[in-house]
């Protein structure tokens, strides 16, 4: 029960998707669509599991008067704030519409937080290029050169430092070559490798050889 049924379920669902690809005849399509919907519904339940876990940990922090218990309170408050507003005070289904409370929270709290967190990357990228991109060995040097050329080539700066060369022979052209040929070749090798890894891992999962997601051997 604990192990066999999950393994059989995995195999049935996995093989359905496999067959569905080659057999258009019913009921394959309907089955695969049904399983897709199941995924959506299960994840809608599962998200509460995560939320409740987060609340549990936060409440524990407050209860134990942990060092940062105040911040646990803010987490709890903001979680319930958006939950209550989104479920009850934002016009139901139209919760995403302009002017709803949910939309207001989205625009003025969620959106700036998310965008700023993302924007920190600009700083990290600069510091990483200063610190980490060193010509330590041949491989690192190649990586660095390619990065440098592409970076220069994507801005007017690249053509400007190679202005003495004839048009069409400047840095932006070199950067195009790297982007369209060397980059594509490398990406392709990685992509093919990944696809093989995925086919083989999927097959092992369907056959029940790989079962770590169900708790190891």
């Amino acid at each position: 029960m604990r192990r066999e049924i999950p393994l059989i379920l995995t195999a049935i669902v996995g093989i359905t998707f496999f067959i569905q690809f080659f057999v258009p005849h019913s009921p394959m399509r309907e089955l695969s669509e049904t399983f897709s919907d199941w995924y959506s519904i299960i994840s809608a339940f599962a998200i509460w599991l995560g939320g409740l876990n987060l609340m549990k940990i936060s409440f524990e922090k407050v209860y134990k008067k942990d060092k940062d218990w105040f911040f646990a309170v803010t987490t709890i408050v903001s979680f319930f704030l958006i939950l209550i507003v989104g479920l009850f005070f934002s016009g139901g289904r139209q919760y995403l519409e302009q002017g709803s409370g949910y939309d207001w929270l989205y625009r003025n709290i969620y959106s700036p937080l998310s965008a700023t967190m993302f924007a920190l990357l600009a700083f990290f990228v600069a510091s990483a290029s200063y610190r980490a991109f060193r010509a330590r060995n041949a491989q690192a040097t190649v990586l660095l050169l390619a990065a440098f050329i592409v970076m220069a080539g994507r801005t007017p700066f690249g053509d400007w430092i190679t202005i003495y060369l004839p048009e069409g022979w400047r840095l932006s052209n070199l950067s195009n070559v790297i982007m369209n040929y060397f980059n594509v070749a490398g990406q392709r090798a990685i992509m093919i490798g990944i696809s093989l890894g995925i086919v083989s891992t999927s097959l092992r999962i369907i056959l029940g050889i790989e079962r770590s997601h169900l708790g190891g051997e």
Partner: protein, 251 residues
Amino acid sequence: MSSEFGVWLAAFFTIGIASFLYKDNPLYKFCESVFVGISAGYWAVALFWENLIAKMFDSLGISYFFGLWPEKGALQDIFSGVWNWNLLHILAGILGIMMLLRLFPKIGWIARWPLSVIVGSTAGLWMITYFQSNFLSQLQKTVVPLFDIGRINELSEIGAAMSEQGRAIPFDAYFAAYLGNLILIFGTLTGLVYFYFSKEHKGVFGKTAKVGIYFLMITFGASFGYTVMSRMSLLIGRLYFLFSTWLGFVN
């Protein structure tokens, strides 16, 4: 300067998160904890309306029964004698509840059932999709002649016209015609040799794998260079918000 409360709030959170750059501090901790709470709740609300209500209650006809949705669902169909696949969504609901049973340690193992449905559908779908889109279509595009005859012919035509105007043929056009396909084929194949696991990287094989690594490194470098651009734009967006929307210094 903006007179809207929301904009000021947004500016506060922007500065709060950015203060992490200096060092970890209470303001950042505050923003971080708000962020974690708000975003967890944000997703819970979105999935509630879009998945639970729309996929389950609407398609089963429960929303219709309570007059919350104009369209009939699977339950109504069944009672009028028509088979509707959406009826199986009841099973999904049961699986979803099994998922929540994870909260109770004694019977938590039952959460493996819904998990296996998720993993099974992923495995089946990804196996096919990646094989088609990454393996087959990349194989297709690697099967090209070593030299692009069409482009070479084109070059000689354009070349004559361009040299009349006193201009040089672009470097990338030359490359594309004579070396492009060669690099594509060679780079892909050597890169693939690098990923070969069941043979030691020695001798000629090892050398080929080494060339493959260099191709991968160029790829990484190119991605990095390209990405720097993207990252900078994100910050520009935030700066526009601060200087223009909030403070009103520029338009």
